[in-house]
Symmetry: C2
């Protein structure tokens, strides 16, 4: 496994890699969710590149950039174990040199849900992912379903800019009690951690209601909200039942829907989602 820190070296080594190339972009502090992406990339490609880069452009000034958890040594050991070929680990000055001013945006799809609470977030995501795609030039790139809106936005960007790769979205990996794996779970106090599976419980409730024929989203949202509100430590940013492609809110579910949510525990913001009718 090679660790590459500059764009020039990454591009130089890229030419020598066996194709197809699978790519997993991460912000490090890896967990089983990331490793499932690496495993899928390994199974479907001849070379696997993983990037570790905490992208400042996707954090607002009020967010957790400076305290975002980092543990490079542990990350590298985990990636080596998974059979990763290349780890791309660039510095900020490499990715955003002074005077940097080029941005990739997906407009309407980034307005609701996460975009509503984090208005500059997706511009940072699409820009860094575009750059990483150009640097690594993968055949296949892997993203987690946990960030459902991000996955849709990146798929749309890659398609609409005619990029030469496939975007592959993989299932959310969960703790035994249902909490979606996230690098940010480490922020939770023991009490918050104990309460946090409420998100998944509310999603499972939505699934049960749907499977028993409920199609009215107001009814489903009310019962989901009640489950979360039973938790005194939880503060709901949003709970949404939306079209799986456009992310427009639905009144009635026809064939399928994305049920998604963001819930704050203190300063820690958790997101989770589930697709109904899949």
């Amino acid at each position: 496994m090679k660790i590459i820190e500059t764009i020039a070296e990454m591009k130089a080594i890229r030419i020598k890699l066996k194709e197809p190339i699978g790519f997993v972009p991460t912000m490090g502090y890896l967990h089983e969710g990331h490793l499932s992406l690496v495993g899928k990339a390994k199974a479907e490609n001849k070379s696997v590149v993983v990037s570790i880069y905490v992208n400042p452009a996707q954090f607002a000034p009020t967010e957790d950039l400076s305290k975002y958890p980092r543990n490079l040594k542990r990350d590298l050991a985990m990636l080596e174990q998974e059979g990763t070929d290349i780890v791309f680990f660039p510095a900020d000055k490499e990715m955003y040199p002074e005077g940097y001013d080029t941005w990739v945006t997906v407009d309407k799809l980034t307005k609701p849900l996460e975009g509503n609470f984090r208005p500059t977030h997706f511009r940072g995501v699409t820009t860094i992912v575009n750059k990483l795609f150009n640097i690594v030039q993968p055949d296949n790139a892997y993203f987690g379903q946990k960030d459902a809106q991000q996955a849709l936005v990146i798929k749309k960007m890659a398609k609409e800019l005619d990029m030469n790769l496939n975007v592959i979205v993989c299932p959310t990996v969960r703790e035994p009690d249902g909490l979606a794996m996230s690098s940010r779970n480490v922020y939770l106090t023991p009490e918050q951690r104990k309460s946090a599976p409420a998100l998944y419980k509310s999603l499972i409730l939505a699934k049960d209601l749907f499977s028993h024929g409920e199609r009215n989203t107001t009814n489903i949202l009310e019962q989901m909200t009640a489950i979360i509100q039973k938790e005194p430590l939880a503060n709901i940013d949003y709970i949404s039942i939306a079209d799986t492609e456009t992310l427009e809110e639905l009144h009635t579910i026809k064939k399928s829907a994305l049920v998604s949510m963001a819930v704050r525990y203190g300063n820690t913001r958790l997101i989770d989602n589930l697709i109904l009718g899949e």
Copy 2:
């Protein structure tokens, strides 16, 4: 010479082309300026791809999209003559399918000069050029110095998004009387056409003043303005003496400067420029 109308076919044929590949994106209605780019691409590459696409995203609703001059048959004959291998000629629905919503922007550099008069123009340019770069995947892409700000913006985009190609800027080609070649020159009435070399005359004056030691831009701009204002049919949008990289206006020229202008004749907007101290 093959004419390709879909992205899928262009990508399929791209793989078979001999490398390096030179690419010249155009809006058609070709003139000697375009052909000089094709000639340079031919000399420096093993394959040459030219696109002809009048990009709606770079025209404002008030601008000349619908009446932009077109003559495909003549264009194709000229490109064949120059030894072009592939002409990429896509339809709007191919480039901007329904719901299209991904945009590439370069921020500060697109604010002054042309951007000040055409606020949505460069977003259209950078987006379509980004798409074309991904579709054609050239090694070298050729642009004319006549669109000086466009050339700087595209260079910045390609560099900052880590795209895998060189952007090469070629000298402006002029009519015998100095008028910069442009597809829009066809709009000029005989009287306007007779007056239009005033732009180049004012640039040559700036060059003379500079070569005789003048460094104060107010003095140069005053004399340039006087030359254009002598022409009763000409209306100045701007005359600028700016930094060759940042496009910030200069009070005093140190080493070099971009002298540029936009002048309207009726509804026809002409641009021209020259670099001092090159």
